[in-house]
């Protein structure tokens, strides 16, 4: 799993960017460890297209040693005549999705992500995980 060195940089902030026809709902969660089933803190779900700015993790508290997870759920409401056209829309999602973290004056860190799309439901789930050290 990827890790991000928080160091003394606080507060740690998250920014999600995406350019897509779909409505994107993003859910950022903080866990004490990667084995936890429930998060101890979260940022309220948001649509990055409507709220594009930086958001503090855990209200600016220290997050060293925590497990951070961001899930984005996309739902397309336009019609797709076929799966190939849908896949082209998903390609744009892959090309433009960015979930980045930063603290202090340190350059933003781009989180790696896994993407799974579902043509039948016109949906897509994107997940990023990071150990904050």
């Amino acid at each position: 799993m990827d890790s991000y060195q928080v160091g003394t940089n606080t507060p740690i902030k998250l920014k999600v960017g995406i350019e897509t026809e779909a409505i994107t709902m993003t859910y950022p969660f903080l866990y004490h460890s990667e084995d936890d089933d429930t998060p101890y803190s979260m940022i309220s779900p948001f649509d990055p297209a409507q709220k594009p700015g930086w958001k503090q993790l855990d209200n600016g508290n220290k997050v060293n040693g925590k497990f951070f997870r961001v899930v984005s759920f996309l739902r397309f409401f336009n019609s797709f005549p076929d799966e190939e056209t849908f896949n082209l829309a998903i390609q744009q999602v892959k090309d433009t999705y960015e979930a980045s973290l930063k603290g202090g004056d340190v350059s933003p860190y781009m989180m790696a992500f896994e993407l799974k799309s579902f043509y039948k439901d016109k949906t897509c789930v994107i997940e990023s995980e990071l150990l904050l050290t």
Binding site: E34, D47, F73
Partner: protein, 383 residues
């Protein structure tokens, strides 16, 4: 009654002709072949085309009795249509921009649905722009023997207008969706780190409230603009016939526009609309034979109207187009029926009087399908 019997016979012929191909897979993604390259040759069910839900790339075929139908459905009328929108990066694209709603707020600033106070009437121009190319073989009521033509065309939606009520409905549906997606019930699903993306998707899309909200939202978005103006242009080149001592020559060039005034009629059906179309077409037609059997060019102007009742799966339409030509005037009076059997299978038919026809005659009835990257009809191994 005579027409119904004739249509039944023609339909049976098509089914019989097709039975030899033994499709072994379900027909998929069938779309009416309405590319301008086809429409130019008057072989589509309707001369009034509306660029709805075009595939990013499609290969269309048509089985027209006006073409060389000596080999049944395997006649040589094919069109490739390509929508560049999906192949280039859409800068700063989001849900509201895609649906043509605009805001005065600066880029990168926080916005709410209520900040979207404008509507971009030109927002569909690039989104619905498509280019097509067709290879056709037929007589097209011009030459006694079937001839080959190559056509290119383009079409798009130049203007669209939505009412304030339609725009407000989109904004309120967006709010309903995002509010539900922010509810504890939904958050609890996303908060579980052990769920795979497929499990998350299944858990969300199976929620009854999700299904209801999404269905309502899609119905709202599927409401047609109260007015839309579609434009198209196409050129068809006659490839010549050495047997008849005819060189390749200018075929047909046309530009046309159709305006669609759409009235939403929810009392008839969930997605039901009554459409009144107006159409104008300028045609420079080189496919005319004089007494010496030489081709000559004639300029024609078409204008007419079309009425359509669009129900959820079925639509009835009638169009009347009058053509002012250099030497005489002609009319096209066509009734058409479209029935969507299921999500991927649609029947189209048209009957009536076409331009250049003597008396009332069937002009087209059949199945048309779009061949995607993968064929819509998969033939058996023996074929």
């Amino acid at each position: 009654m005579k027409k119904i019997v004739l249509l039944s016979v023609l339909w049976s012929s098509i089914v019989i002709a097709q039975s030899g191909t033994e499709p072994t897979a379900a027909l998929q993604n069938i779309a009416p072949p309405s590319s301008p390259a086809f429409v130019l040759m008057d072989i589509t069910p309707s001369n009034i085309i509306v660029p709805e839900n075009i595939q990013a790339f499609s290969l269309q075929t048509i089985s027209a009795f006006s073409g060389d139908s000596s080999n049944g459905l395997s006649n040589n009328n094919y069109a490739v249509e390509f929508q560049p929108y999906w192949y280039v990066k859409r800068e700063r694209m989001d849900f509201f921009k895609y649906n043509n709603l605009t805001t005065q707020k600066a880029d990168d600033s926080e916005v709410t649905p209520n900040d979207y106070t404008g509507y971009n009437i030109f927002g569909d121009v690039w989104k619905r722009f498509s280019v097509s190319m067709a290879l056709m073989n037929g007589t097209f009521d011009v030459l006694p023997q079937a001839q080959s033509y190559v056509s290119v065309g383009a079409r798009t939606r130049l203007l669209s207008f939505k009412t304030k009520s339609q725009i407000n409905d989109i904004k309120s549906q967006y709010t309903a969706y995002t509010t539900f997606m922010s509810s504890p019930e939904v958050i609890a699903i996303f908060a579980k780190p052990g769920l795979s993306p497929s499990e998350i998707n299944t858990a969300i899309t199976n929620l009854e409230t999700y299904k209801t909200i999404v269905t309502d939202f899609e119905n709202t978005l599927q409401r047609k603009p109260v007015f839309a103006l579609d434009v198209a242009a196409a050129y068809s080149h006659f490839m010549g016939d050495k047997n008849q001592d005819l060189d390749d020559a200018f075929g047909r060039f046309g530009v046309w526009a159709s305006g669609d005034l759409a009235f939403y009629t929810p009392t008839i059906g969930t997605n039901s609309h009554v459409h009144i179309y107006g159409v104008f077409r300028y045609l420079r037609d080189g496919l005319n034979l004089n007494e010496a059997s030489d081709l000559f060019i004639e300029t024609k102007t078409d204008y007419g109207v079309k009425m359509e009742l669009e129900l959820d799966k079925l639509s009835f339409a009638y169009e009347y187009i009058t053509r002012d030509a250099d030497d005489n005037n002609e009319e096209r009076s066509i009734g058409s029926i479209r029935y969507k059997i299921n999500k991927s299978f649609t029947l189209n038919g048209g009957f009536g009087k076409n331009f250049k026809s003597d008396g009332e005659q069937v002009v087209l009835f059949g199945i048309q399908w779009g061949l995607d990257y993968e064929p819509s009809v998969v033939l058996g191994a023996g074929n």
